[in-house]
């Protein structure tokens, strides 16, 4: 055997051994950003960037300043004009007429007009189109009528006042009709909007890049200046592993991240090179829906006792640690806040015990109450995420044990979890909903949605149904607020749920990044953002 033949493999071994050590150095140069690029790490990759197809918040975190809406809602919750200059609701509450801006063009040059609005809304309700959250936002949509080039009337089968808030929500943001017709499925990775940023590139499982729209001459509703965005480029990187994501912010590989895990929050808050921003999520908080049809939860005293017994402080001190606030009602405080709701159920184990005794549940030898030989057992429906059930389930379990209730956690995969909720088979699940209109309560409590999404309290209450329908009819903001406050008071009074935590959207940026603003949905709008090296 000739020597070179017997030595080749050793060459590979040596090369492999020293190879990784060779060209290591110039990484800092690769990482260096030009003045105008912001890199933001997100916790997940969006299923799609199509605003009408997505069921997922991450889509709108990315496109909040790419696609624009008829109306805008800032953190104060007030509706202001955006692509619509003005709007009016018809007397019967079934239609809204929008007067549109005349100076708007989509990124591909397509003019924005009433036809474009009609095209977008018709697209969402098209049975052949698999809509995401957008479909529910247009519940009861009948038609859009083009009154003239810049006036459009949107009509619903029944009065539907939540539409105005929906019109300001990312799910009903508008894309170029021409781009949808001509490029079809490309909307999934490159929606063509009209905002200060344009999607330039999408690399699956890695990142998507958006660049400034140089033609943007208007004043964005969140801004106090006209003209294009300040930064040139925003790169959204998909970094699912939380520890890695936090590290990239600390090393400067990214200049911003979304979803700071609770365990890393203290470290980032101590880091002077980093600024943490917390925004309240609108919608339904992390909440336990109590199945009112299943004994012993058919007894309101037991449901109230549970509300007094759950120690929300413990949730904040252990699982949430700065990423949440105590919840008091089926809507988060940013949606609707009132002292009456806040005072309803203070943490009071003694009161809980008294209520349970009053309901006939007496303490047994094993620390668990019983009545007529029946132990006080509750089955909590929880999703098994692979690393055990939702930690909130365990906190509920330990809180309730202290007052003599034995909570069994039914930890299971999503599909059977849903099935059990539809069949009202357990004492209820812990869940949350993101919704920008108080009409989110309709999904939670309307009797028509028992067995569907999401009346998992299985409540059928004629008075609630009537008020929920009234909330949909009423267009006056002050009267709407009164209606939903009454609904919340009833839900709290009847103890249909245990509101647990108002969750916060936690973002962190390098201090050199300034001027990040957020809309009501807690999604960032970046046209006023600047970055300093």
């Amino acid at each position: 055997m000739r020597p070179e033949r017997s030595w080749w493999w050793l060459g590979i071994v040596v090369l492999a051994a020293v190879g990784p050590a060779l060209p290591a150095p110039m990484v800092r140069a690769v990482l260096a950003q030009t003045g105008g690029t912001l890199v933001v790490g997100l916790d997940q990759e969006p299923p799609t960037l199509d605003p009408h197809a997505s069921p997922s918040a991450v889509t709108y975190q990315i496109i909040a300043s790419v696609t624009e809406n008829l109306l805008y809602r800032g953190p104060d919750g007030k509706l202001v004009p955006w692509l619509a200059e003005s709007w009016s609701t018809s007397r019967d509450g079934r239609s809204v007429t929008f007067k549109l801006r005349r100076d708007v063009k989509f990124h591909d040059g397509t003019p924005f007009n009433a036809d474009a609005v009609k095209f977008n809304f018709d697209r969402i309700v098209d049975p052949k189109f698999k809509a995401g959250g957008a479909r529910a936002a247009l519940a009861g949509y009948s038609s859009s009528k083009v009154l003239d080039e810049f006036t459009v009337q949107v009509t619903f089968e029944t009065p539907y006042s939540p539409f105005l808030n929906a019109a300001a929500s990312g799910v009903l943001s508008l894309v170029s009709p021409k781009a949808v017709r001509e490029t079809g499925d490309q909307v999934h990775t490159r929606p063509v909007g009209s905002g200060p940023f344009m999607i330039k590139e999408y690399v699956a499982k890695d990142h998507t890049t958006m660049v400034r729209n140089p033609a943007y001459a208007r004043k964005a509703p969140w801004s106090d200046r006209s003209g294009p965005a300040q930064i040139e480029t925003v790169v959204w990187k998909f970094i699912p592993e939380a520890g890695t994501r936090v590290t990239t912010l600390e090393s400067g590989e990214t200049q911003g991240i979304y979803l700071v895990p609770a365990q890393s929050l203290p470290r980032l808050e101590k880091n002077t090179a980093v600024r943490v921003e917390k925004l309240p999520w609108p919608g339904v908080p992390r909440i336990w829906l109590l199945n009112v049809t299943k004994p012993p939860f058919d007894d309101v005293r037991v449901r109230r006792a549970v509300n007094n017994a759950v120690d929300k402080e413990a949730f904040l001190a252990t699982v949430y640690r700065g990423t949440g606030l105590k919840a008091f009602a089926p809507l988060t405080a940013v949606m609707l806040d009132d002292p009456v709701l806040r005072q309803a159920y203070p943490f009071d184990p003694e009161k809980a015990k008294a209520l349970l005794s009053e309901a006939g549940w007496q303490l047994g030898g094993d620390g668990i109450r019983s009545k007529g030989g029946q132990r006080l057992e509750i089955v909590l429906n929880a999703i098994e995420y692979g690393g055990g059930p939702d930690p909130t389930a365990q906190l509920i379990q330990s809180s309730l044990r202290d007052v003599g209730i034995d909570v069994k956690i039914k930890a299971q995969a999503r599909p059977p979890w849903y099935e059990d909720n539809y069949r009202c088979a357990t004492h209820g699940p812990v869940m949350f909903l993101r919704s920008t209109d108080p009409d989110g309560l309709f999904a939670l409590f309307h009797s028509s949605l028992v067995g569907g999404n999401f009346n998992w309290s299985c409540v059928k209450n004629a008075k609630l149904d009537e008020m929920l329908a009234e909330g949909r009819r009423e267009s006056d903001p002050a009267r709407r607020r009164a209606i939903y406050l009454a609904i919340e008071k009833l839900a709290v009074e009847e103890a249909l749920t245990v509101p647990l935590i108002d969750e916060l959207a936690v973002w962190a940026f390098r201090t050199g990044v300034q001027g990040v603003k957020y809309n009501f949905n807690a999604y960032p709008v970046l046209s006023d953002t600047t970055i300093r090296r």
Partner: protein, 307 residues
């Protein structure tokens, strides 16, 4: 030789049949209604559920569904991803390069680290070198890759700034994931090399070679190591499977595109066609690589063919 190869290849057929059956059954073994689960996050009406059922041919008899699955697969049609609405085969094709790169690079790390460690340990049997090398190997086997990955990010990316923590593409992005993934295989290869070397070093022909006055190092490399590597070749094939499994974790920790991320994303999105297609692809790749290893083995060691 030809007969041996043909026999090995034929033996693969029932294995592949089993693989398709297992992958196909996934849809039925998961609790709950797969269609409802896939559409759980969407607002749906019964029509859409029926439509999805028809689209996935779930309304047909199971045997017919399986037949369709196999025949489509044979024609390279793995179905359409529910999430991205693109052909699964395209999705796999786009990601195979990145994972292939990672697998090869980590194999290089494994070999480059494992074999020298094993040789050093065997030569200095029971010395401190041996103990040190085997402790390193033990750590490599025992350390979960996500933990090692995070440690490397912490040390080499955050503190020293040598390598980026995330992303794919060029060589710099490859180093940390490859080291993380290669470490486990390196540890196994090191231990195997050690024991194999010890055995060979005790053989007569090694003593003869030394008695002829050949240089010690020459004997170790040309006579001993070459023969000691024979069992290690088999491990390459088996380790390849581990590398693919490890890629699922490593690609997630380092936010690297690839088949592992594709599968994890598919599972989280309840994208059945995508998961089925990707798992099938990985399983077939694993089987075929092991056939190649078997054949290569027969070349390296003619005794195998006889057996």
């Amino acid at each position: 030789m030809l007969i041996f190869v043909a026999r090995r290849v034929l033996a693969v057929v029932p294995v592949l049949f089993g693989v398709t059956l297992a992958v196909f059954s996934m849809l039925f073994l998961v609790p709950g209604d797969p269609v409802k689960m896939m559409l759980a996050e969407f607002v749906t009406n019964p029509d859409q559920i029926a439509q999805m059922r028809a689209q996935l041919h779930l309304d047909e008899p199971v045997i017919q569904q399986y037949g369709r699955f196999v025949s489509n697969t044979l024609r390279g049609d793995l179905g359409t991803s529910i999430r991205s609405r693109r052909p699964v085969a395209t999705e796999i094709a786009e990601n195979i390069g990145s994972t292939g790169q990672l697998a090869l690079a980590s194999m290089a790390v494994a070999i480059g680290l494992g074999i020298p460690l094993g040789v050093v340990a065997a030569l200095g049997r029971n010395s401190w070198l041996d103990v040190a090398a085997m402790v390193v190997a033990l750590l490599g086997v025992a350390m979960p890759s996500f933990w090692l990955g995070l440690l490397l990010i912490f040390g080499l990316s955050l503190h020293l700034g040598w390598f980026p923590a995330t992303g794919g593409g060029d060589f710099h992005h490859l180093v940390l994931p490859a080291v993380t993934l290669g470490m486990i295989a390196a540890a196994i290869i090191a231990r195997l090399t050690r024991s194999s070397m010890l055995e060979v070093l005790g053989q007569d022909y090694v003593r003869t070679a030394r008695a002829k006055g050949l240089a010690w190092w020459g004997v170790v490399v040309r006579h001993a190591l070459k023969n000691a590597l024979i069992p290690i070749v088999t491990i390459f094939g088996l380790q390849f499977g581990n590398l693919l499994a490890g890629a699922v974790i490593v690609e997630t920790v380092f936010s690297r595109p690839g088949l592992g991320r594709l599968i994890v994303g598919g599972i989280l999105a309840k994208d059945f066609p995508l998961v089925q297609g990707a798992v099938l692809f990985v399983a077939v790749a694993y089987v075929l690589i092991n056939v190649l290893v078997d054949v290569a083995y027969a070349f390296v060691d003619p005794r195998i063919r006889v057996a």
